[in-house]
C-alpha cells in the first residue's frame, strides 16, 4: 500500500476549503487504498490514495483544507508547495477543486487563485442538497460555461454525483481544460515584476504566480524558502508599496480583486434568496447559549472523558489478561533457556501488550473526535472555551487533548492534531502529559491509603486524592504561558474559526478515521514502544551473575529450619519456594544495570527522602509509571499471587524503617516523603509511550526536552516538599 505511484500515473490533487466534504470525496474515490504519510520535514499529513480511471493508474492526493493560497499555517504552506511542484513536491496533472455549494462565492476564491497556476481543473459543487434546502439556486451549466471547465454537482456523503465526477475526470485526463486567469490591474503586474525581475537578477527563477504570492502574503511561506532574505524583503516591501500607492491595502488587495472578479463571473449563476441556514442558527442559540451551551459542553465532554476513563477499561484489562495468558502459554516451551524465556515473556509479549493496551482509548477518542468534528460541534466547543486557554498560548481546541490527557496522554497527544496553529499545537502537546492520567491513580491510592487516611481520616484522604489530580495542570498552565512568551519563537496564528453547518456524520468517514489513527499508532509508535520495552527488559535482566541467586539462596535458607527446607523446596509451588523465588527476583533487580544505576543516583533522590528501594522502583517505572506499585511489590518480596498487592504493601510500607545511615530506625515513609513522592509522580514524565508519541507528532528534540523538563520539575518539587516539609 505504501509503494510509490507507478511511473506514468496521473497525479490528481484535491483542493478545497475546510468543511467542504473534500475528504469524504477522497474516501469515496479511494476507499481503503489510501495511506497517510507526513510531508517531508514537517508534521502535516499527506493523504494519498490510488485509483484507476479509464484504464490509467491515478495517484489522488487530498491536500489540507485551506481558504486561500496565502499560507499562514504549515498545512496551508504545503498546499502552495504541492500545487507549484516546489521543494520536493511534484506538481499535479489535474486539480479537482471542491466547492461548498452552500457558500460558492467564498469557496471560489481558492478556485480563482488556483487558476493562476495554469493546471487543468475540474470543479465539484459538493453539498448540492444542502444548497437546495437553503434555497440557493445554482446554474451549474452557466458556471461551467464561464469557467471553461467541467462543473459537477455532488452529494458526496450519499455517493450522489460521483459517477459523473469519475466520468468527468476520465475526460479531463484526455482533454484537459483550464480556467481563464484573472486580469490583474496594471499596478499588480508591476508589483509582481518588481519581485520576479529582482529575483532573476539574483539568479533565482520564480513563476509569476509565485512572485505574486510573495507580494500578497505578509508572511510568505514561499519567500521563507527561496533564500536571499534581506534582498527579497526589500523587493517585497517595494512591491507592496506600489500596491499601497494605488490606494489598496496589500493584505486585502488580492481578496478584493478576486472577489470583484468573482462577482462579475457569478452574475446569473446564483439565484434564490437563501442566505442563512435556519437550522444552524436555532441550534446555535441553544449550543452557544451562555448557560445551556456551557452545560451541554460539559455534558458532552464528561461523556467523552467517561468513555476513555471507564468504558475503555474492560477492553484494556482484556488485552492485559490476554497478554498474561500468552505469556503463560509460551513460557513453559522456553523453560530450558531462562534468558530467552524472560526476553520473550517479559520483554516482547509484555511489550506488544503494552502497545495494544492503548488502542481502545485511541479508537474511542478518535470516534468522538470524528463525530464532534463532522457534526460541526468541535468548532462550537472551541468557541465556548477559547478564552479559558488563550492567555497561556493555547486555544479553544486544546480542551479535548488536555481532557483526554486525564485518561491517558497517548491519545491526548494524538488528539492535538485538531489544532491548526503549530504554536498552540506544540504547547498543547507538551502540556498534555502533565494532566493526571489514570496510571497515576494507583500510586496516589496506595500512598494516600497507607499514610493519609489512617492519620487524617477518609475525608481528608478523599480531598487529597481529588487535589492531586490538579497538581499537574496547576504547574502546566503557567509553564505554557512562560513557554509561549519566552521559548517558542513562532508567530501565533490568528484564531479565526468558521462555524460550519451542522451535519450528520457518516459511518464511513468515522470508521476510516478510527482505522487510520489506530493503524498509525501501532505501526509508527508501537514498534518503537516495543523496542523500548525490550531495552528496559535488558536493563532489568542483565548482568545477572549466578552468584546473586546463590548468595540469596544461602542467606534465605540459613533463616529457615533445615527440616522444612528439604521438603518445601522440592515442590516449586510451595509457599517457601515462591518466597525464595521472589527474594531472588528482588536481589536480581538490585543487581541489574538499572538497579546499579539506581544506587548511583541515590544521593540525588536522598534529598527527597527516598531510600534505594523507592529510587529503583521509580527508575523501573520510567517506561510506564503503573509499574511502580508492582516493582515495590517485588522489592519488598511480596507474594505475586496475593492478588491485593496494594493492601499488603500498605502495611509493609507503613512499617518500613531506615536500616542504616543518619536516619537509622526512623520510618522511611513520613508525610513529607509521601507527598514528595506523589508530587514526583504528578509531574514526572514516566511514560515511554508518551515520549514516543510526542517524538512522532513533533520530533525527538521536543520529546527529549519534555522528558528532561518534566523529570527535573518532578525532582525539584519532590526535594522542595521533603526539605520544607521535614523542617516544619
Amino acid at each position: 500500500m505504501k509503494q510509490a505511484a507507478p511511473a506514468g500515473a496521473v497525479r490528481i490533487a484535491l483542493l478545497g476549503n475546510p468543511n467542504t466534504g473534500k475528504s469524504t470525496i477522497f474516501n469515496r474515490l479511494t476507499g481503503l487504498r489510501q495511506h497517510i504519510a507526513n510531508y517531508p520535514g514537517i508534521t502535516v499529513e499527506k493523504k494519498v490514495g490510488a485509483m484507476e480511471l479509464g484504464g490509467r493508474q491515478v495517484e489522488l492526493s487530498d491536500l489540507p483544507g485551506t481558504y486561500s493560497l496565502a499560507a499562514a499555517s504549515p498545512d496551508e504552506r504545503v498546499v502552495m508547495d504541492a500545487l507549484g511542484g516546489r521543494f520536493g513536491h511534484q506538481a499535479p496533472d489535474l486539480i479537482v477543486c471542491v466547492v461548498d455549494a452552500t457558500n460558492i462565492k467564498r469557496n471560489m476564491l481558492l478556485v480563482s487563485q488556483a487558476a493562476e497556476l495554469c493546471i487543468p481543473m475540474v470543479v465539484v459543487l459538493n453539498q448540492w442538497d444542502a444548497a437546495k434546502r437553503n434555497g440557493i439556486e445554482i446554474d451549474e451549466a452557466l458556471l461551467s460555461d464561464r469557467l471553461g471547465v467541467p462543473v459537477i454537482p455532488t452529494v458526496a456523503k450519499r455517493g450522489k454525483g460521483l459517477e459523473n465526477l469519475i466520468n468527468a475526470l476520465v475526460r479531463a485526463i484526455e482533454d484537459p481544460r483550464w480556467i481563464p486567469r484573472i486580469q490583474w490591474p496594471e499596478f499588480i503586474g508591476a508589483a509582481r515584476d518588481i519581485v520576479r525581475d529582482g529575483l532573476a537578477h539574483l539568479g533565482v527563477d520564480v513563476t509569476g504566480p509565485e512572485a505574486l504570492r510573495m507580494v500578497f502574503d505578509a508572511d510568505s511561506a514561499f519567500a521563507d524558502k527561496i533564500g536571499h532574505k534581506g534582498k527579497l524583503s526589500s523587493l517585497r516591501k517595494a512591491a507592496r508599496e506600489t500596491i499601497r500607492s494605488h490606494g489598496m491595502n496589500p493584505a486585502s488587495a488580492e481578496a478584493v480583486l478576486h472577489y470583484s472578479h468573482l462577482d462579475a463571473l457569478l452574475v446569473g449563476v446564483l439565484g434564490g434568496d437563501g442566505m442563512v441556514a435556519r437550522t444552524r442558527s436555532s441550534i446555535d442559540s441553544l449550543l452557544l447559549n451562555r448557560v445551556w451551551g456551557t452545560l451541554i459542553f460539559f455534558g458532552v465532554m464528561s461523556v467523552v472523558f467517561q468513555s476513555l476513563y471507564a468504558w475503555a477499561s474492560p477492553v484494556m484489562s482484556l488485552i492485559e489478561s490476554g497478554s498474561e495468558w500468552v505469556q503463560a502459554a509460551v513460557s513453559p516451551a522456553l523453560a530450558g533457556t531462562p534468558m530467552i524465556q524472560s526476553l520473550v515473556s517479559d520483554g516482547i509479549i509484555a511489550g506488544v501488550g503494552g502497545v495494544l493496551v492503548f488502542l481502545p482509548q485511541i479508537l474511542l477518542l478518535f470516534l468522538f473526535i470524528a463525530v464532534l468534528e463532522d457534526t460541526g460541534y468541535l468548532a462550537r466547543a472551541a468557541f465556548l472555551m477559547d478564552k479559558l486557554f488563550g492567555w497561556c498560548g493555547l486555544n479553544g481546541k486544546s480542551f479535548v487533548p488536555l481532557l483526554s490527557g486525564y485518561a491517558c496522554s497517548v491519545p491526548g497527544v494524538m488528539a492535538a492534531r485538531t489544532l491548526e496553529d503549530p504554536k498552540a499545537r506544540i504547547t498543547t502537546i507538551l502540556m498534555t502529559p502533565f494532566m493526571s492520567c489514570s496510571a497515576r491513580l494507583p500510586v496516589y491510592v496506595l500512598l494516600i491509603g497507607a499514610f493519609v487516611e489512617p492519620s487524617h481520616g477518609p475525608i481528608v484522604a478523599g480531598w487529597t486524592l481529588f487535589l492531586m489530580h490538579f497538581v499537574g495542570a496547576a504547574v502546566a498552565m503557567p509553564l505554557a504561558w512562560f513557554m509561549n512568551r519566552w521559548v517558542l519563537r513562532l508567530k501565533p496564528l490568528p484564531f479565526i474559526l468558521e462555524m460550519p453547518d451542522y451535519r450528520v456524520p457518516t459511518l464511513r468517514n468515522v470508521t476510516i478515521r478510527m482505522w487510520e489513527r489506530g493503524r498509525e499508532f501501532v505501526v509508527r509508535a508501537g514498534t518503537l514502544i516495543l523496542a523500548f520495552s525490550v531495552i528496559l527488559w535488558a536493563l532489568l535482566y542483565f548482568p545477572r551473575p549466578e552468584s546473586v541467586a546463590k548468595t540469596m539462596r544461602e542467606a534465605f535458607l540459613a533463616t529457615q529450619s533445615a527440616a522444612d527446607v528439604a521438603t518445601a523446596l522440592s515442590d516449586p509451588n510451595s509457599g517457601l519456594s515462591i518466597k525464595l523465588a521472589r527474594r531472588i527476583d528482588g536481589a536480581y533487580i538490585a543487581q541489574s544495570y538499572l538497579g546499579q544505576f539506581g544506587t548511583a543516583v541515590q544521593p540525588a533522590f536522598d534529598l527527597a527522602g527516598f531510600d534505594w528501594k523507592i529510587t529503583v522502583s521509580i527508575l523501573s517505572s520510567f517506561p510506564a509509571r503503573e509499574v511502580f506499585v508492582s516493582t515495590l511489590g517485588v522489592i519488598y518480596n511480596l507474594d505475586a499471587d496475593a492478588g491485593n498487592e496494594a493492601t499488603d504493601l500498605r502495611s509493609i510500607l507503613a512499617k518500613e524503617k531506615w536500616h542504616s545511615g543518619p536516619r537509622a530506625g526512623q520510618p522511611v515513609y513520613t508525610l513529607p516523603v509521601v507527598f514528595a513522592l506523589m508530587a514526583f509522580f504528578a509531574l514526572c514524565m514516566q511514560c515511554g509511550a508518551t515520549v514516543t508519541v510526542i517524538a512522532k507528532e513533533l520530533n525527538w528534540k521536543w520529546a527529549a526536552g519534555s522528558f528532561v523538563t518534566m523529570t527535573t520539575l518532578a525532582w525539584g518539587a519532590a526535594v522542595a516538599i521533603y526539605q520544607i516539609g521535614s523542617r516544619l
Partner: protein, 91 residues
C-alpha cells in the same frame, strides 16, 4: 475595487469603531481593514472586505471570542483580531 481610504472621505471619524469593541448585535458596515498583517489577509480572504455588511451573532460565555455573521457564514474571531476591522453602524 474599493480603495482603502475612500470610505473615510466625507464621513466623521466619530462613527467608526473597531469591530472588537462592539457589544451589540446590530448590523454594521465594514469601512476598512486597518492592518496589512497576515491576519488581515486571512480575514479578507474570508470575505471581510470594505463595504460588506456584518453582524455580531454570538458572544462566547466569557465575552471573547465573538461570532460574526458575514454573507451566509459565521466566523468566530477573537476580539483582538476583530480590532483590525473598522466598522460603522449600518443605518
Amino acid at each position: 475595487m474599493i480603495p482603502l481610504t475612500a470610505c473615510r472621505n466625507g464621513r466623521s471619524f466619530q462613527a467608526m469603531k473597531k469591530l472588537g469593541e462592539i457589544h451589540h448585535f446590530g448590523m454594521l458596515n465594514i469601512v476598512s481593514i486597518t492592518s496589512d498583517c497576515t491576519c488581515a489577509g486571512r480575514l479578507a480572504a474570508l470575505g471581510f472586505l470594505p463595504g460588506c455588511r456584518v453582524r455580531i451573532s454570538r458572544i462566547a460565555p466569557l465575552g471573547d471570542p465573538i461570532s460574526i455573521q458575514i454573507g451566509g457564514q459565521e466566523i468566530s474571531v477573537r476580539r483582538a483580531e476583530a480590532d483590525l476591522i473598522e466598522v460603522e453602524e449600518a443605518g
